[in-house]
Symmetry: C2
Subunit: 300 residues, 2 copies
């Protein structure tokens, strides 16, 4: 079950993994991640198990699961985004789902609140021979999410259709969560203007008013504390919202020769074959950023 | 010019419209809105010119421009979203652009900061014979936007290609603005699961990991302080990101018979003709919400 557990707050402490399990807060006795690629991650246990892990309270770098020899606890293979725990965190990232964080503090376990998976990367750890899945997680501030949430609306009993199999039968207040945030920078605006909001991957231009298009600037090597990509035109693509989601998720990659692969096959995007990235003569995308994206998403 | 003006802050006061004009804060002497449908709205003057206008400091309901008899100042025609000032605010809404607000306070004008256009609606005002364009505007809290913004990245001189006509030549810090926020509610999640993330308009399913799709729940009659739509399945569509943008902008509407019109013509969405909204047998979309959407966007 995703989200808050009734009666559990940031004062809640558990003497053992079993206690945390029975409280429903982390429903596994050994595994650090509970969840699947289908549902997203319900919860994780943060215990500094890997040397590059960082815990700054509201910001975490967390290493995923897998590739360890159970006897020696040494890394003997690459981690993968498609193994169950890592896939769960990937789904949480792409779908914008909240993950419960439980911290090992000395001998006990303390509930740390809900976090969002901001970014992820397949990367060699310091001094490591094998790649790990690293996740950047940011604490959800309910006051901030609420600011962006629309005014809660009282739903009256008259609004419902009791004879329908699916419906909302209890009057009450509903609130919303942030699922995905599209950002823009001055550099992004320049690139979108250059392409007149035409997607570099599928060629679509969404016309929203009069003649004006809508598109999104996608940093190839993501900005932020994990990927640390630069905000420059060489690291930017003008994409339609659909291609942007596919690119951010890692399902869609750009090869060195600019061919487009979707889930490993020549890309069909928005119902049309999309063999190659389109580039304006005045816009040069640097392959080092495309290479970072391929590697970081585990696709190279 | 969009955004903050150097040297102008919320203490800045102007003795007249001309002073505000010369400071670059509101570059028109009479008009209440500066901007175009192409660029978005640079600035607006809030002076309580219409009876239903509301000013709560960080939240405004603002009536657009047009349809007034200049001699009597009475409304003699409907306002339209495609007249210049209103089109400018619509573009700001759809593109997520920041608008400067200047308030008339007694005889003087005071800068009120940057606002986002949260929603818009074509509606009959209280006691009015003719529709007006009403805009819901929310003050941008830079601390909150910054929380969602990625860590600012120092860009070194080595990152640039000085021989390219477009590039980012000054090392320095860049930050991002929120362009668009996708929200979800429990009701939205239920509808998306029912459709298995397949868009009810164009039929596409974006596959992001393994088998899992990505889609967005769109309230037909928007939640929030302007449209006050309910969070119920009858008021919800499962859409791909592209169709969601087109629907929110008002470019794409659903007729009473469920046919889809894009900019007034039978819809072609994501490169395919999309004649009708698809509905699952267990999901009933109520036409009263579709009608609200058509009217609110000025399309009925």
């Amino acid at each position: 079950m995703l989200g808050e557990i009734a009666g559990i707050d940031e004062k809640s402490t558990f003497a053992s993994r079993r206690e945390a399990y029975e409280a429903g807060v982390h429903r596994a006795l050994q595994a650090g991640i509970v969840g699947t690629g289908d549902t997203g991650a319900e919860s994780i246990v943060v215990s500094g198990g890997y040397p590059d892990d960082v815990d700054e309270g509201s910001w975490l770098l967390y290493t995923g699961h897998g590739g360890r020899d159970p006897a020696t606890r040494r890394q003997i293979a690459h981690q993968r985004f498609d193994s169950p725990g890592n896939a769960a965190l990937e789904t949480s990232r792409i779908q914008g789902l909240a993950v419960r964080v439980i911290r090992k503090v000395g001998k006990v376990y303390r509930y740390g609140g809900l976090f969002r998976v901001e970014e992820s990367m397949l990367v060699y750890p310091t001094g490591g021979e094998f790649k790990v899945c690293r996740f950047e997680m940011v604490k959800i501030d309910k006051a901030i999410d609420a600011t962006y949430a629309p005014v809660e609306v009282e739903v009256s009993a008259e609004e419902h259709h009791p004879d329908l199999p699916i419906g909302n039968f209890e009057p009450g207040r509903r609130s919303s969560n942030v699922q995905r945030i599209i950002r823009s920078t001055e550099v992004a605006e320049r690139v979108k203007t250059l392409y007149d909001h035409t997607c570099q991957m599928c060629g679509i231009k969404l016309v929203v008013t009069g003649d004006r298009g809508y598109s999104e600037g996608a940093h190839i090597q993501a900005l932020g504390g994990l990927h640390r990509g630069p905000d420059v035109v060489e690291n930017m693509l003008c994409l339609c919202p659909n291609c942007h989601v596919l690119f951010d998720s890692g399902a869609l990659i750009v090869e060195k020769d600019r061919s487009l692969l979707l889930n490993g096959k020549p890309a069909v995007l928005n119902n049309k074959p999309a063999p190659k990235l389109r580039e304006h003569q005045d816009h040069h995308v640097d392959d080092k950023y495309l290479a970072h994206h391929r590697e970081a998403r585990g696709k190279s």
